[in-house]
């Protein structure tokens, strides 16, 4: 690469969201199907409707959880508002045996993997630190330390190699690691790129560039477009319109298939926008303009898919009213489940510290149990009133 190439590539493309050869898009914000030389998909009407259904339900879960937090039922919630297409597109590209390593915001991928939304809410409510079996759903527990999971995903992918489960398109397995633009600065993410590249591991690094790391814009994380980072490590990088569910599906599927057939890692940068706050504890009005939001509203992932369905005339009024009904039911179930969610017992904190409990932990559990039992009012619920 010559110095001239470098000069061209260091123009501030990082924040450019204009579609072009560098941004894979199959569905415009207005709902028009466009083609791309390297990516194509052939879906049935049922599958198109299925994507829209997923987008609507995922958004509804997110809105419901945000409301529950505002009502004091969750301690905090990390909303994925605006990122539904990036997560549903990539989530639906995964095969049953593929393993996903999320951050703490991939509720849309959790949905695709069949993880009950109430399990996610349990974490944010403080009822658990991760309430599902990762092996059962091939969806790792949420990782809160930024970027850590990219190493776990890489190790898992190395395990797939050792099992000989790489090479064949039909039977090969792949791993996907989710992380954000902020995380791309972390040492662990870069170490994951190193390990994945030198071992040629079957992994897709899926970066949702939602333009913000809390209040820090992507320009403070990188000088070049993030998908170009991969080149430095020796594997392909591709930027996809993260608000285009069809394009994210197509790009992720190809990357996963490249991984499972032994071609090694790919970095997929899903260019999207965090329409909500970092979490419910955040106040974005302190660092970004409403006008930015307005511009991105025009690129809404649901609106363009809805427009497409209408234009293709593959939906009728019943479809939407049934979907609304399903969304309402889902929201009601989540609400009820959240309000009824039990706190863990105080003594449960001593369980599972180790596979083989130690005498010290057992001793503390027994002493604490005796202590709690000594309260005259039979108060055994621990600290909270």
């Amino acid at each position: 690469m010559s110095l001239t190439d470098l000069a061209v590539e260091t123009t501030p493309v990082a924040t450019s969201s204009a579609a072009g050869p560098e941004l894979v898009q199959l569905l415009t914000p207005e709902g028009e199907r466009v083609s791309h030389p390297d990516y194509d998909i052939n879906l049935t009407d049922e599958e198109y409707r299925g994507f829209y259904r997923d987008l609507v339900l995922v958004r509804r879960i997110d809105i419901e959880a945000t409301a529950l937090q505002r009502q004091g039922e969750l301690g905090i919630w990390a909303a994925l508002l605006g990122q539904e297409a990036a997560q549903v597109g990539s989530g639906r590209a995964l095969r049953a045996k593929d393993f996903a390593f999320p951050t703490y915001r991939e509720h849309g991928v959790a949905w695709c993997r069949g993880v009950d939304p109430l399990k996610l809410l349990g974490l944010f409510r403080g009822a658990s630190n991760g309430g599902w079996d990762p092996q059962e759903k091939r969806f790792q527990l949420y990782t809160i330390v930024i970027g850590s999971q990219t190493l776990h995903a890489t190790g898992y992918a190395m395990g797939i190699q050792k099992d000989g489960a790489v090479g064949d398109l039909e039977t090969g397995e792949a791993t996907i690691a989710y992380f954000g633009d902020g995380a791309s600065s972390q040492g662990d993410v870069n170490e994951a790129f190193v390990f994945a590249s030198v071992y040629n591991a079957p992994i897709v690094f899926f970066c949702q560039n939602n333009q913000w790391g809390i209040s820090t814009p992507t320009a403070n994380q990188t000088r070049i477009p993030l998908y170009q980072r991969a080149r430095g490590f020796g594997f392909p990088g591709v930027r996809v319109d993260g608000n285009d569910v069809l394009a994210t599906y197509a790009v992720t599927r190809k990357a996963l298939d490249d991984a499972r057939t032994g071609q090694g890692p790919t970095l997929v940068e899903a260019f999207t926008y965090r329409m909500g706050a970092h979490t419910t504890s955040d106040d974005p009005t302190r660092y970004r303009l409403a006008t930015d939001l307005e511009a991105w509203k025009l690129k809404d992932p649901l609106e363009r898919m809805k427009a497409f369905l209408y234009k293709q005339q593959i939906v009728n009024a019943d479809f939407f009213s049934e979907l609304d009904h399903d969304a309402d039911e889902l929201a009601a179930r989540i609400r009820k489940g959240c309000l009824e969610m039990e706190d863990p017992s105080p003594l449960s904190m001593f369980e599972h510290v180790y596979d083989e409990m130690t005498p010290l932990v057992r001793e503390q559990q027994e002493a604490f149990s005796t202590y709690l039992a000594g309260f005259a009012d039979g108060h055994t619920t621990g600290g909270h009133a």
Binding site: Q135, S148, M158, D188
Partner: protein, 324 residues
């Protein structure tokens, strides 16, 4: 009976686990072709292949982080951190992820990972090659921490640590790597989590682990010439800590001196002192005393023998204990 150095005993123990369980994989810097900078993994890559004995990139956090992923896939990784002072880049993966994964998953995810770390000083090295970081790990719930002090323990403890389904930080006393002893490899080992009385005595108990066990044994031999009978306890397991063995010894001798290279402030000696005094307050003839490194960064190696507890420093403190 075979005569083995600690390094060779570790090598043999590693070989045995590799033979018995195809899911055991060794990973670390220079562990493959070179056989490790201390040759502890010598010959293993040749016999088991580089799929199972991996020369990793130079990235400690990466080594432990990918090991976590391998464990999720059903493997039993044995990671090597080349020197004690280089474990810190991996510290976040160890305490935030490895230690907590089992509890976070309510027991559904197991982390059967062993992290081998040569530790301690006395080898004339430059900075970061002579640290004693065991307290940082013993203080972290979810980790188990052990330290071998002899060839027989090296041979069996490494196998037991690898076969444990809990994450084990396995400290190896690098200044003792070349010390030899006879090892009966057919013997049935005792529990990994038990301390051992390595020399019986009656006047005071010395508790130590890793490189200081030999120092304490030497001190006890010297003390014997002065008519003092010192009992030496090798802790072996730092977390969980075998208090029963320590209590039994101190009940007998009434005096305890803890010896470790690590600095005094908030070192393992503080936990042992607090616990023993809580349990045996009325039975003791002297408070628990400690012989430790100073609360300074490890010094340049030309004066490291001034920093490290040695036979004289141990006996000096034993005198203090006996003087109460």
């Amino acid at each position: 009976m075979t005569t083995l150095t600690i390094a060779k005993a570790l090598n043999e123990g590693l070989r045995k686990t590799m033979e018995e369980d195809s899911k055991v994989v060794i990973m670390g810097e220079d562990v493959g072709k070179l056989g490790g900078v201390f040759r502890v993994t010598d010959g293993l890559a040749k016999d088991f292949g580089d799929d199972r004995v991996m020369d990793t990139p130079l990235a400690e956090s990466g080594i432990i982080g990918t090991a976590i992923g391998l464990a999720l896939r059903g493997y039993r990784p044995v990671c090597e951190i080349q020197f004690d002072g280089f474990v810190y880049p991996a510290y976040d993966q160890i305490v935030s992820q490895l230690a907590k994964m089992h509890a976070r998953s309510k027991g559904t995810v197991k982390m059967p990972i062993t992290i081998r770390i040569p530790f301690g000083g006395g080898i004339g090295a430059v900075e970061h090659h002579s640290e004693s970081p065991e307290a940082y790990f013993a203080h972290t719930a979810g980790l188990k921490v052990v330290a071998c002090a002899s060839p027989v323990d090296a041979y069996f403890m490494i196998q037991q640590a690898i076969n444990s389904d809990d994450p084990v930080i396995f400290f190896e006393p690098k200044r003792r790597y070349w010390e030899k002893a006879d090892v009966d490899v057919t013997a049935t080992p005792e529990s990994l989590w038990k301390a051992r009385v390595v020399r019986p005595g009656t006047d005071a108990t010395l508790v130590a682990y890793g490189p200081m066990v030999k120092t304490c044994l030497d001190a006890a031999s010297a003390a014997e010439e002065d008519g003092r009978s010192l009992e030496v306890v090798d802790l072996r397991s730092l977390s969980p800590l075998d208090y029963e063995t320590v209590f039994a010894s101190v009940r007998k001798t009434k005096r305890l001196v803890v010896v470790h290279e690590a600095p005094s402030f908030v070192g393992l000696g503080t936990e042992i002192a607090a616990r023993v005094q809580e349990e045996l307050y009325y039975e003791m003839e002297a408070p628990v005393l400690r012989v430790t490194g100073f609360d300074t960064p490890y010094p340049p190696s030309r004066i490291e023998e001034e920093y490290l507890p040695d036979l004289d420093r141990v006996l000096h403190v034993v005198d203090r204990s006996l003087g109460f």
